[in-house]
């Protein structure tokens, strides 16, 4: 395996007052798509918050391209080149569709993504560019959220539950678009409840259970019974 772009070591992290992650170790290689699966409350969201800087931990718990970023604020992490597509989309309601995209890009990192590239990927957004972001359908809002993260031209993009609350047909579209998005040399970390979807787009996966890594391996070859065991903790 080549040198990892993201390395998490011995991560203990808290969600509000209780500990959600215990000694988690994890690596993402350059250009790799990694899936994180696990039941509700397994610590997936805390893991995302810890990587993106929304939850600050000890500096050396998270290393990104050799920089110790575990203790940085989210805006500093964003400048290093990590973008998050947050659970529930979380668009800015006071901003139009285009302004939501522009604010994603204002960090000013160079790369292939720009307003026109995002509009090419999701043409519907160009039609709706002057509308309030909250007036869009759920699927279109998810496109804005993905576009907003891409506008930062990140080296690592985190997707947190991008299919949650969307119609199956929309989920299919979004997953169909994913390889085109990630294909630009970006690494990606995908948190997903739908295990089949998560395994189909990723090269490797980690399964979290009650704040610990219960299983990791190659997505293509893992046995379903191993996953059920790691996912639910039943023997």
């Amino acid at each position: 395996m080549p040198e990892p772009i993201l390395k998490i070591s011995e991560l203990d992290a808290f969600y509000e007052d209780f500990q959600a992650l215990y000694g988690v170790d994890l690596e993402v290689a350059q250009g790799e798509v990694l899936a994180i699966i696990g039941a509700n409350g397994a610590g997936k969201t805390t893991l995302m918050r810890s990587i993106s800087g929304l939850t600050q931990n000890k500096a050396d718990m998270v290393t990104f391209r050799g920089d110790r970023i575990g203790a940085l604020r989210a805006d500093e992490v964003a400048e290093k080149g990590i973008a998050l597509v947050p659970e529930g989309r979380q668009l800015f309601p006071s901003l139009s569709v285009e302004e939501n995209l522009l604010i994603g890009g204002q960090i000013g990192r160079k790369g292939p993504w720009s307003l026109s590239a995002v509009y090419e990927l999701f043409p519907i957004l160009q039609e709706r560019r002057n509308q309030q972001s909250t007036s869009l359908s759920g699927g279109q809002q998810q496109m804005v959220a993905i576009g907003r993260a891409l506008m930062a031209n990140p080296d690592l993009i985190l997707f947190d539950e991008i299919s949650l609350g969307l119609a199956p047909i929309i989920i299919k579209d979004i997953y169909a678009a994913l390889p085109g998005i990630i294909g630009e040399g970006m690494s990606a970390l995908i948190v997903e409840q739908d295990i089949t979807k998560a395994l189909s787009v990723s090269q490797r996966f980690y399964c979290l259970q009650e704040g610990r890594v219960s299983l990791e391996g190659a997505s293509a070859t893992v046995a379903r019974e191993d996953i059920s065991r790691a996912y639910f903790g039943v023997e």
């Binding site: 947050p86 604010i103 204002q106």
Partner: protein, 287 residues
Amino acid sequence: MDWLNAVIQGTLLGGLYALFAAGLSLIFGVMRLVNIAHGDFIVLGAYLGLTVTTLLGLHPLVALLLVVPAMALIGYVLQRGILNQTLGKDILPPLLVTFGLSVIIQNGLLEVYSADPQKMNAGALETASVPLGELSLGVLPVLTFGIAVAVIASLQWMFYSTALGRAFRATSDNQEIAQLMGLNRRHIFGLAMALALGVTAIAGILLGIRTSFDPSIGGGRLIFGFEAVIIGGLGNLWGTLIGGVILGVAQTIGAKIDPGWQLLAGHIVFLAILAVRPNGLFPRINE
């Protein structure tokens, strides 16, 4: 004709109230901070103007070129140094801290400038007037109103057409997600407070040309500012101008009926509007 005159004078006075209110409205809009010391910052602006005009012999309106940046700097440092630490889920700490600031500013001004009423000298501008039919309009009130409209229009443009305004709105919507976009909210809040106190400096100097002032009058200006913001509706800058005008007109008409009624009439109109439209006339912020 006297009544028409009262309405016109009240409208022009409303421009000054809108300037009192604009900074208050801005910081509430961006960071949900209610600045109890806002009135005292207006008075501080007036005193800084007084110092600049007496020390350097400048006209008060020229003094704006120094006082506005000075107040903006004070705002940024205050926000980064103190106020950011008070912001959080609990709304009480910023109220208490700005209340404390109010006391400190008042007493500081008292110490430096004494309790004697002061006034800035703007020369011929103070008494100049232009005839309008049978009425005569003071140049200073008309200028004040014009400045208020220009300030509100600039803030509106800044808020809705610039990258900084976009950052303000995004941070106001969702601080965590804004942080993910690389916006450091502490810096954004500092800029918002700088802008607010810059506008407050303009309000303070216009106040200090119009009437005499002393360190104790901040509280009253704070109330006028609050009332203008709330009448107009939270988060709507043009609404704030209309709120100021309604308050100003209510006061001049009240004074026309009986001089003792000036302030009371303003408060009564404010309470009446609050009773009918608790969110103000043109609210923008959906809570």
